[in-house]
Amino acid sequence: MAAILEVDRITKVFGGLHAVQDVSFEVGETEIVSMIGPNGAGKTTAFNCITGLYPLTSGDIRFRGQSIKGKPPHKITRLGITRTFQNIRLFSFMTAVDNVMVGEHCRMHAKVWDAVIRTPSERREEREVEKRALDILRRLGIERYADAYARNLPYGLQRRLEIARALASRPTLLLLDEPAAGLNQREKRELMEVIATLRKGGLTIFLIEHDMRVVMEISDRIVVLDHGEKIAEGAPQDVRKNPRVIEAYLGSGASEEMRSA
């Protein structure tokens, strides 16, 4: 399986703190890879490095063989990597459909002058983009909320809307930062279905998740971080048995629970 994302010995230092240190891993095409680790292990920092929000201290990140080190976030999004956020970051006072249309921004072509005089091509593009946005909302089952402000959506659907917004920029790699956080059992089940369908549609998914049931069920592979370093990588059943993971991530007392999960 060809690697779509290669993270090559990346390090990110904040002042004296090594948030991510010398971490390398790969994500293959149409794979679902999870990153786990205790709080403060550097998972979100790694995400921010990949999406260009943080500049790397050292190391390199390649997407489809091309280095994306030092590229601004919008260029990385344009190349085909989009993400969601751990604490939902929707545009709260925009409608759901507008949120998704913002997601299409980097695939649109209208220039300022096109907008000022509303050229036919600009109108056509706006119509098409709105249609596509509604289409994405329909696929994710939140079409009926299209005209509601994002902040007025129920929590679980806000998570889903964030995925919709990310999908609108037509990514090939989707990064999900704790997509199941705060969801109830039924919503988690639905989320896993959504992720499975997305992968079936040819999307590669890389996610951070704390919920072990979700992680174990959907992941092809798991990367484990602790204190900024990668301590394990492999298939779910291997990672589950890895003693370093059990000790570092779950603490020694929780190993029983892990086996029964």
Binding site: P73, S92, F93, C106, Y149
Partner: protein
């Protein structure tokens, strides 16, 4: 692309979706506003001349006098208008009465047709007055009496009522467009209605229109993109000095006016980009300081006659606006075709409103709102935050330069005093007062502020004097109101913040945002960590 996922209903206990924010909701409010304004104008128009007849030595005529005099071809028209007007008013009253009794309105369609016919007749009269501008039309039409004011007031008012009534269902469906159309119609009739109040039309109305342009431009920066700009007057100055340099004595250049205003816009937007490029990575408060500095530097440069280009404190002389041989004149100069300046400004305001409205609803407008709401998420969603903010900055600057170039031609002499910090503050107050982010709001705000500056403040001294004489407290007359202008601004702003924190006509999203608070975190902060 992904396969369809099974549709899932909202979980039990989910909140109902909020009302759509796309402005497609039906609202009869605007209809009643239009009718009220129209009726008000009609009533004032018919009764004003009888009132002023005494003080104007009997030269005032009401349209009613014209009807009774049976002279001129206009009388026939007046009859048509009067009959339609009576039917219309009777119809409206009937409507209200039947609504009280919860009955359906009668003969709606017929009355609408009649109203439309009356409105068209009114417009025909207006056109005839404009074309002929002679006495037979109304028996006695005297430019120096109040009669023509009353006639215009009546015609405007009745047209409003009639068109409003005829198009009621459409207005209820499109309140925004209807409001804009009516605002421009009344605005355009303004110099005719207030022909006698020459000073107000001559300066106040044009000033208001310039302020509308400034407020519209600053609204792009502050309202749409959420960037605080405290030096906005600098771009205004750049526009005005562009006019004075390219069409004035200084360099002997006399480029045509309509080229100058676009050049002024272009040069100001260049300056906007130059200022914005290094500073837009800064967070809101720091950006405000930098723009504040810029706003101080530009008038100072002009005062110090940098490179001998600005003429120092005395300023530069600028050509008046000319279209071929038609000279619009300048402030205080004869002939100053003040009305035409005003109408030209109205047209420009309309163009700018349409352009900004289009941009607001485009890809760029969405990107601005996204950046305003959450810059980090906007960047991660694929928006180039730096160039998008830069665009807001230079589009805002270009509108200011546009207004400035016009202002220069209108003033005749461009001096640094016209562009001090006070101007930036006033325009910002205008935007806050009217409603940050709302095009209709800032327009209303600019009219209100212009009214305060040009009518209330100049007259306040006299009012205080009168108040002092009537109450016997003569000290009141010594109270110098113009010294306390900024206190007045402050009070207005505090009042607005307390009573309507989102402005007079708030934009929908802003209203919610201000009451519940948004997140503020600059992308540069995240990146710099």
């Amino acid at each position: 692309m992904p396969e369809p996922v099974p549709s899932v209903d909202a979980p039990p206990g989910a909140e109902a979706p909020a009302a759509p924010a796309n402005g497609k909701e039906e609202s009869p409010g605007v209809f009643w506003m239009i009718v009220a304004v129209g009726l008000g104008l009609v009533i004032i128009g018919w009764f004003l001349p009888w009132y002023v007849e005494e003080i104007s030595n009997g030269v005032g005529y009401s349209p009613m006098d014209a009807v009774l005099s049976f002279t001129g071809i206009g009388t026939v028209m007046i009859y048509v208008v009067a009959v339609a007007m009576i039917v219309l008013i009777a119809g409206l009253v009937d409507d209200i009465l039947r609504r009280r009794k919860h009955l359906e309105p009668r003969f709606t369609r017929q009355r609408a047709m009649l109203a439309l016919a009356g409105a068209l007749a009114t417009v025909a009269v207006a056109v005839l007055i404009g074309l002929l501008n002679e006495e037979p039309l109304f028996g006695t039409l005297d430019q120096y009496s109040f009669t023509d004011n009353a006639v215009w007031m009546t015609l405007t008012g009745f047209s409003l009522c009639a068109f409003g009534y005829a198009f009621k269902p459409w207005i209820v469906r499109h309140p925004g467009i209807a409001f804009t159309a009516v605002a421009f119609a009344v605005g355009a009739a303004f110099p005719l209605i207030f022909n006698q109040a020459g000073d107000f039309v001559g300066w106040g109305a044009r000033f208001a229109a310039i302020y509308i342009l400034l407020a519209l431009g600053l609204n792009v920066v502050v309202g749409f993109a959420g960037l605080l700009d405290l030096g906005y007057a600098a771009f205004f100055a750049i526009g005005a000095y562009t006019t004075a340099s390219l069409a004035g004595q200084r360099y002997g250049l006399h480029l045509p006016f309509w080229i100058i205003i676009f050049l002024g816009a272009g040069i100001a937007s260049l300056f906007g980009a130059v200022l914005g490029a290094p500073t837009l990575r800064l967070r809101g408060d720091y950006l405000a300081i930098v723009t504040l500095g810029f706003g101080e530097i530009i008038p100072d440069l002009a005062t110090n006659n940098v490179f001998g280009a600005t003429g120092g404190p005395n300023g530069l002389a600028a050509d008046p606006a000319k279209f071929g041989s038609f000279n619009l004149g300048q402030l205080g100069a004869v002939p100053a075709n003040t009305k035409f300046y005003f109408w030209l400004l109205i047209i420009l305001v309309a163009l700018v409103v349409v352009a900004l409205r289009n941009v607001e609803r485009s890809r760029l407008g969405r990107a601005w709102v996204a950046i305003r709401e959450d810059e980090v998420a906007a960047a991660a969603t694929g928006i180039n935050t730096v160039s998008t903010k830069l665009l807001a900055f230079s589009i805002g600057a270009s509108v200011s330069g546009f207004a400035g170039a016009f202002f220069g031609a209108m003033l005749g002499t461009v001096t640094p005093d016209n562009f001090q910090f006070a101007v930036s503050v006033t325009v910002l107050s205008t935007v806050v007062l009217g409603g940050i982010g709302s095009i209709a709001g800032v327009t209303v705000g600019a009219v209100v502020i212009a009214f305060v500056i040009n009518w209330i403040i100049p007259n306040a001294q006299q009012w205080m004097g009168t108040l002092g004489t009537t109450t016997g407290v003569t000290q009141l007359g010594n109270f110098n109101v113009s010294q306390y202008v900024y206190i007045l601004y402050g009070l207005i702003l505090i009042g607005i913040m307390l009573l309507r924190p989102a402005g007079l006509l708030p934009s929908r999203a802003r209203k919610v945002e201000l009451t519940t608070g948004g997140t503020e975190e600059a992308l540069s902060e995240v990146e710099a960590s």
